[in-house]
């Protein structure tokens, strides 16, 4: 019971402080946003001071008084230090990375120190996400990525951001809640299954001449690409390497006709979300094979194409299909 009241109270406080914080791309923490209170450890410390004071009074021991007062002064001085460990910190919200449903959405932030000030042990956490800690001692600027769980596809605005610090002695907690002006696009969860019918059947009489698509892993040599760790050593162009031209891998492709349509109508037995999941999986498959593919959803048609930007377009369409005006979300910035 008390737990739930506490939770509700906590949530109300967070909401209140969020209302005071506008959505911005970049902001600097100042006394308007930083809250500071003794932490749990600080409360215990105060009780300890009380015990010491009682000891000092009872034993009439002036050195005990001195230490008690020294620690009490330390407590007060720490307020400033803890506060200073947040104030002047500039936070830039850089970008949100798209992800698939079930994965964690990633958001990039950059923290910048003010002047020559040093910041230590700053903890950042999205409301429902996991925490990260960061120091700004030698560097003036650092980037970090925070993660947040995804529960549904579509555009996902970042949760409120908690920035807190207990530094230097853990006696105080300085914190702030910020609205994060970032969002991530959550693609449907890719689910394997079904068969993709031959393109001509699915396309329903597309009369264009068959396109030749390049599939990697064939026998036709097309060129060299930069060698990356993990590539098969068999593909390394050793001759070039021996000439001192760097490590390259030979690229082979298989030429075939592979234009395909991914269509909403393919698996009528599935529910809408399941269809989107399967289409996503297939889109990824086809992209990986380097085939050309198009997408047909009710009201949306994307011409067959290939490449990264095409993939993003297709996935975005799948992610936003059927959701209310994703565009509006996109431009909710003031």
């Amino acid at each position: 019971m008390t737990g739930s009241i506490r939770q509700r109270l906590g949530r109300a406080v967070i909401d209140w402080s969020l209302r005071r914080s506008p959505r911005l791309k970049q902001l600097t923490l100042s006394q308007r946003r930083i809250y500071i209170m003794p932490s749990q450890a600080g409360a215990v410390f105060l009780m300890l001071l009380l015990v010491m004071l009682i000891l000092a009074i009872n034993f009439q021991n002036n050195l005990m008084f001195a230490v008690t007062f020294l620690l009490a002064s330390l407590f007060v001085v720490t307020i400033l230090h803890t506060y200073a460990n947040l104030s002047g910190l500039t936070i830039q919200f850089v970008r949100g990375h798209p992800c698939f449903l079930g994965e964690q959405a990633a958001f990039d932030l950059t923290l910048t120190a003010r002047g020559t000030r040093q910041y230590e042990s700053i903890q950042l956490r999205l409301r429902e996400g996991e925490g990260a800690a960061i120091d700004l001692v030698e560097d003036r600027q650092r980037s970090l990525t925070l993660y947040q769980n995804t529960h549904r596809r579509g555009y996902l605005p970042a949760d409120a951001l908690l920035i807190e610090t207990f530094y230097p002695l853990g006696l105080f907690r300085a914190w702030t809640w910020l609205q994060v002006d970032l969002k991530s696009l959550v693609y449907p969860r890719p689910v394997e299954g079904g068969q993709l019918p031959d393109m001509h059947d699915a396309a329903g009489g597309d009369q264009q001449s068959p396109h030749l698509a390049e599939r990697p892993g064939g026998e036709e040599f097309t060129g060299l690409e930069q060698y990356q760790a993990g590539m098969s050593l068999k593909r390394v162009a050793w001759k070039n390497y021996a000439r001192g031209q760097g490590m390259h891998a030979k690229q082979y492709v298989e030429l075939s006709d592979n234009r395909r349509w991914l269509s909403w109508e393919l698996w009528p037995e599935l529910s809408g979300e399941a269809r989107l999941s399967r289409l996503t999986w297939w889109a990824l498959q086809l992209h990986r094979r380097g085939e050309e593919y198009g997408l047909r959803l009710p009201g949306i048609e994307i011409r067959p194409d290939r490449g990264e930007s095409h993939r993003v377009r297709v996935l975005e369409a799948l992610a936003c299909f059927g959701l209310d005006s994703p565009v509006e979300l996109q431009e909710s910035r003031p």
């Binding site: 009074i57 002036n62 050195l63 008084f65 007062f69 002064s73 007060v76 400033l80 020559t116 002695l169």
Partner: protein
């Protein structure tokens, strides 16, 4: 989900250091076997740290805990409660080492460490100890700091610096709090017995007791006089009187508190009054030292009917009190009970001494004549020595008076009192100190254990007064004139327990200076720090003129506020590089144009900006072209000619004045 904060390795090192530092002073206080526990747990922890061992199984920890508890229960039978409590803290502290891996554990340990630091002042209060504790505090705080640092940051000295800075900033406020915090009496009675043993007089006096004290150069108390000092041969510091004699040993019976008024009226104001403060070392006894007749004394003390002072309870820690004494014989119409008490002697024994006393009394009646006779007797063939022959027989007084004839002050006082009583003159033995070394640096008189002394007082029925009689003064008149140190320096047993003083090492002129300086420092420490509560009111009055709420608030707020401001300043004032004057000038123009909505656009280079402005204000196009060229010269050609910069600023100023405000 809350992250589980693991302790970093650097903070583990700091933790071990703090634990060692905090427990080290307790080595002499807590039972010795706790040392084994310390070795075991610290060693185990080090093995864990180096990755060789695992944390002990819970059963081992339980067994250790039980062993410690049983051990402490055994100690409870002998040791004082305070020592046991502190031992328990230390043991818990050490045991916690074996199960410390999270932040929470470290916090528990560090908070207990703070408590232990405070508690160590129950046992030690010297200046070096205070500095040691301050150092421990800094280390423990540094450790607390490492607990809240991330792993990424591994500079091991940084926390120490941070902690030292924090303490420097905290110090001024601590001083203010220390000065103004009202000192009140204890909230409840506490047992101050720390199980220490004390050097000093005890409540019974056997032959040889006092001479044993000459082996020690410990300070018994220090006195500082406001005004005149008593002459050297009058510095008799009374502690207690012994009124019961059992044939060998003098002891004291419980005395009643003296009612003040009956005495005071009888004093003659012709005698000198002395006003002084005493800082008395712990004795574990109830009596307090003072000169002659204390007229005024703190309310916590009482004056007994023998005019000695008594504190409320045994003195377990150094204390300080102010006295006013008058050096006068004490008039007291001895009531029947008292009369008999001061005549008490064992039924029989020491027959020769009794006969001698009766012979003297019959030869020349009168108290004065008797004492004169006695002093002549002592002066004639008695010798004053630190190492008198042992008095083993049943009739110790006879043995001393007629056989050995060598003794220390205790022997003479004891025998003298016996003779007086045997002759029907009420008498008592007084225990205390005689003398004191003046420290010219702070004007305080240090009285040491080797200045312990015993003398006697007799009651004269003619003037109804108690008189002091010191047989030592006739046997060894030098004892009153010289310091005990000079007098005894040739005796082998003198200062046998204080070799440095004994060899005269500390009496060479330079070293003596140093020693006196150190003692003066110590005196100041005792007076102003350890016993600050005695001076607080006076000090505040001196500081503030009068003590009022507003003045005290000012005393807190002004320095406190100033210090916090200074700290805040050092923390928050931007210490970034100075801004480029070019940039500042550009900003000025930008601000000027902003009112007209023509400020520099996002992404616009200064060159583009100037050329745009040149189009908007054709009259200033020359200036803007010049500005543009100037800017390019400075920023891109890296021409650092100050004239160019000045020209740029002038051009900007001209533009600002030419373009009218909207």
């Amino acid at each position: 989900m809350k992250p589980l904060f693991q302790l970093t390795r650097s903070s583990m090192i700091w933790l071990l250091v703090s634990i060692l530092m905090v427990t080290a002073p307790y080595a002499t206080v807590v039972p010795g076997w706790l040392f084994l526990l310390a070795v075991l747990t610290v060693g185990w922890r080090l093995m864990v740290h180096s990755g060789r061992w695992n944390f002990p199984h819970w059963s081992i920890r339980l067994v250790l805990l039980l062993l410690v508890l049983v051990g402490l229960l055994f100690e409870l039978r002998s040791g004082s409660a305070m020592v046991i409590t502190v031992s328990l803290l230390v043991a818990a502290f050490l045991l916690k080492l074996t199960e410390m891996y999270r932040r929470r554990d470290a916090l528990v340990v560090l908070y207990v460490a703070l408590l232990l630091i405070v508690c160590s002042f129950l046992f030690f209060q010297s200046i070096p100890m205070a500095f040691y504790c301050l150092l421990s505090l800094v280390v423990v705080t540094a450790c607390l700091n490492t607990v809240y640092r991330s792993q990424q940051n591994s500079d091991i000295w940084r926390p120490l610096k941070r902690s030292a800075v924090l303490y420097m900033q905290a110090l001024p406020m601590m001083l203010v709090l220390f000065v103004i915090f009202p000192r009140m009496g204890p909230l409840w009675q506490v047992d101050l017995n720390t199980g220490q043993s004390f050097t000093g007089l005890s409540d019974s006096l056997s032959p040889g007791d006092v001479s044993r004290l000459t082996r020690s150069a410990d300070i018994a108390f220090r006195a500082r006089f406001d005004g005149d000092l008593p002459p050297e041969n009058q510095r008799y510091w009374r502690g207690l009187t012994y009124d019961r004699f059992d044939g060998r040993r003098w002891s004291r019976t419980e005395l009643q508190q003296e009612s003040q008024t009956s005495l005071l009226t009888q004093f003659n104001s012709a005698y000198q009054d002395y006003r002084y403060q005493i800082v008395m070392e712990a004795t574990g006894q109830q009596w307090r030292y003072g000169l002659d007749v204390p007229l005024s004394f703190p309310a916590t003390m009482s004056r007994l009917s023998d005019l000695t002072l008594q504190g409320g309870e045994p003195l377990m820690q150094r204390t300080q009190y102010s006295l006013v004494s008058r050096s006068a014989p004490v008039r007291e119409p001895l009531a029947d009970g008292h009369y008999l008490r001061y005549l008490q002697l064992p039924e029989n024994g020491n027959e020769r001494a009794r006969q001698l006393a009766l012979r003297w009394a019959s030869e020349q009646p009168g108290v004065q004549a008797f004492t004169a006779q006695m002093l002549t007797f002592f002066a004639r063939d008695f010798r004053y020595t630190l190492e008198p022959p042992l008095l083993s027989g049943r009739d110790s007084v006879d043995q001393f008076l007629f056989q050995t004839r060598q003794g220390f002050c205790g022997h003479f006082a004891s025998a003298g009192a016996f003779l007086l009583r045997a002759a029907g003159i009420p008498a008592r033995v007084v225990g205390g100190y005689l003398g004191g070394e003046m420290n010219p640096l702070d004007g305080a008189l240090s009285v040491r254990q080797y200045e312990a002394h015993a003398w006697l007082e007799y009651w004269d029925s003619e003037d109804l007064s108690w008189h002091r009689l010191d047989p030592t003064s006739v046997v060894a008149p030098l004892r009153l004139e010289q310091s005990a140190a000079q007098l005894f320096s040739s005796e082998p047993s003198f200062l046998a327990d204080s070799m440095l003083m004994r060899t005269g090492f500390l009496s060479g002129s330079l070293l003596k200076q140093l020693r006196l300086r150190y003692e003066a420092l110590n005196y100041g420490w005792h007076r102003w720090v350890l016993n600050f509560h005695e001076h607080q009111t006076g000090f505040l009055r001196q500081l503030l003129g009068e003590i009022s709420v507003i003045r005290i608030l000012l005393l807190i707020l002004v320095p406190g506020g100033l210090v916090l401001l200074a700290v805040a300043g050092s923390l928050f004032i931007r210490r970034g590089p100075r801004k480029d004057p070019l940039f500042l000038a550009l900003q000025r123009l930008d601000k000027h144009l902003k009112q007209r909505g023509m400020q520099r656009l996002c992404g616009e280079t200064p060159g583009q900006f100037f050329s745009r402005l040149g189009q908007v204000f054709p009259s200033l196009s020359d200036e803007f072209t010049a500005l543009s060229r100037c800017y390019e010269q400075i920023s891109y050609a890296e021409n650092s000619d100050p004239q160019l910069q000045q020209q740029f600023r002038q051009l900007i100023n001209r533009c600002c004045t030419q373009i009218p405000q909207s």
